[in-house]
């Protein structure tokens, strides 16, 4: 049997036999990445919307910086958060290094620029289309930007899906600040990295397939919600 076929069989076995360790790992992955995306969405959507309407000296530099952070390496984020949370670091007294909380912080920092930069672009484009008309009705600039988030809520959802994908698929940050502790901070990507380093490539690949399947199911539900909205529109045309 080829390595790939064996990987698929192992993945199916893990799911069908409801492997407890696997389910815990998947649940922790979803919890960490989902929480990070929710926190980052709270700040990123507001910050991106504000950047689309704010005008001040240095605005272009800030936008340039934000866009540059789209390529922020996850290991660099992990390293920075590690240095902040380590016992000798400025936030060492919190005592949260090698906990899921530290992993949430790292992933929040990782996806915040993604959400903010894409939101700024999205809201800016929509404001060019209808910003004047909202202002004409009496909306102030920030209100216009926030209303555009409502107007473009399905595109906002797509941004959040992209951010979730970036968070759940990264390994560098969670490995450094989580430590890959079995049953405590081990998530799907760190499990894959561990099994790969141990040489159990079929199991590593199987975990990768499970990860993709889990994210696929999450996206399927979100996609169905979007499609439902589209059908509702099409039905009344």
């Amino acid at each position: 049997m080829s390595a790939f076929a064996e990987s698929v069989r192992t993945a199916v076995d893990l799911i069908v036999h409801a492997d407890a360790v696997l389910f815990h790992t998947v649940a922790l992955s979803l919890h960490v990445s989902g929480t990070a995306c929710l926190v980052a969405a709270g700040f990123g959507l507001a910050f991106g919307a504000w950047l689309s309407v704010a005008r001040f000296p240095g605005h272009r530099v800030l936008v340039w910086g934000l866009n540059t952070l789209l390529a922020l390496p996850s290991v660099v984020v992990g390293l920075i958060v590690y240095l902040l949370l380590s016992r000798s670091g400025p936030l060492g007294s919190w005592g949260i290094l090698f906990t899921p909380t530290a992993m949430v912080i790292a992933q929040t920092i990782l996806v915040l620029p993604v959400i903010a930069a894409l939101t700024r672009q999205l809201v800016g484009d929509s404001l060019r289309d209808g910003g004047d008309q909202l202002r004409s009705m009496g909306a102030r600039p920030m209100a216009c930007a926030l209303l555009m988030l409502v107007h473009d809520r399905w595109a906002v959802l797509t941004i959040l899906i992209a951010a979730f994908g970036r968070a759940v698929a990264e390994v560098g940050a969670v490995m450094i600040v989580g430590g890959n502790i079995d049953g405590v901070t081990r998530v799907m990507t760190t499990s894959i990295a561990l099994e790969t380093s141990k040489g159990d490539l079929p199991l590593a690949m199987a975990l990768g397939i499970v990860l993709l399947a889990v994210v696929g199911v999450v996206n399927l539900f979100l996609g169905l919600a979007q499609r439902g909205h589209g059908s509702a529109l099409a039905g009344v045309r």
Binding site: D129, D132, Q133, L134, S136, M137, G138, W154, L233, R237
Partner: protein, 226 residues
């Protein structure tokens, strides 16, 4: 109702309005006509307070309640009812009056029964009528219209013209830019001709179209009528 005195507007190197002065009285229906780039839309936006300008812009107290309808209506991806709620909320209308105002506005533009329909699913003409309903719902004393029928088919154009004629008959003050001289002739009580950011003629409609325009306005009329 509104008086603009020696108003100039500049966009970078472009002088869009050059010392324009115009006053619009209560109940007037003023049509702004002129070639592309003449400054019609800029003047409308300046009158509506949407642009930084040099010069003076004076409003009668009741003109503080004003609205604008644009050539391409922007309706939110919400239901028809929620689009109207948004306009009422932004217009500072007390919540207790919303239902009554929404019903009246939809009846006025003949969109009754479509309250729950997604606004983006409406036809172009219906979206423009919704935009007009949104403006009318706040009971503006002064309504600005930027080529409100330019992107509509003849039937929708006729519907919108009938609405505007009704508003004028109710005593609302209207200022409309248009490329359609026939529309200006049918609807307006006064026609203002702009070219290169300046007013070249400002006459009662009958006089404007009856040969009294003179100069550049007359040349424009001949070109348009040919």
């Amino acid at each position: 109702m509104i008086r603009m005195s020696d108003v100039s507007v500049r966009f970078g190197d472009v002088q869009a309005l050059k010392g324009v002065s115009i006053a619009v009285g209560r109940g007037e229906f003023v049509a702004l006509v002129g070639p592309n780039g003449s400054g019609k839309t800029t003047l409308l936006r300046a009158m509506h307070g949407m642009l930084r300008l040099s010069g003076r812009r004076e409003l009668a107290p009741e003109a503080a309640k004003q609205a604008m309808v644009f050539q391409r209506p922007f309706v939110m991806r919400l239901s028809v009812r929620n689009n109207l709620r948004l306009a009422l909320w932004l217009g500072g209308v007390p919540r207790a009056q919303w239902n009554e105002r929404i019903a009246a506005a939809l009846a006025r533009v003949s969109l009754q029964g479509l309250e729950e329909r997604p606004a983006r699913a409406l036809s172009g003409g219906q979206q423009q009528r919704l935009a007009i309903a949104r403006a009318w719902a706040i009971r503006p004393a002064l309504l600005f219209l930027d080529e409100p029928t330019a992107s509509l088919d003849p039937a929708a154009k006729k519907d919108v013209e009938a609405l505007l004629a009704g508003f004028a008959a109710d005593g609302m003050t209207l200022v409309m830019s248009t490329h359609n001289l026939g529309q200006a002739k049918r609807l307006a009580s006064r026609v203002v001709y702009l070219e290169d950011g300046a007013i070249h003629a400002d006459l009662p409609t009958a006089q404007f179209f009856g040969g009294g325009a003179g100069g550049r306005a007359q040349q424009f009329l001949k070109g348009e009528m040919a």
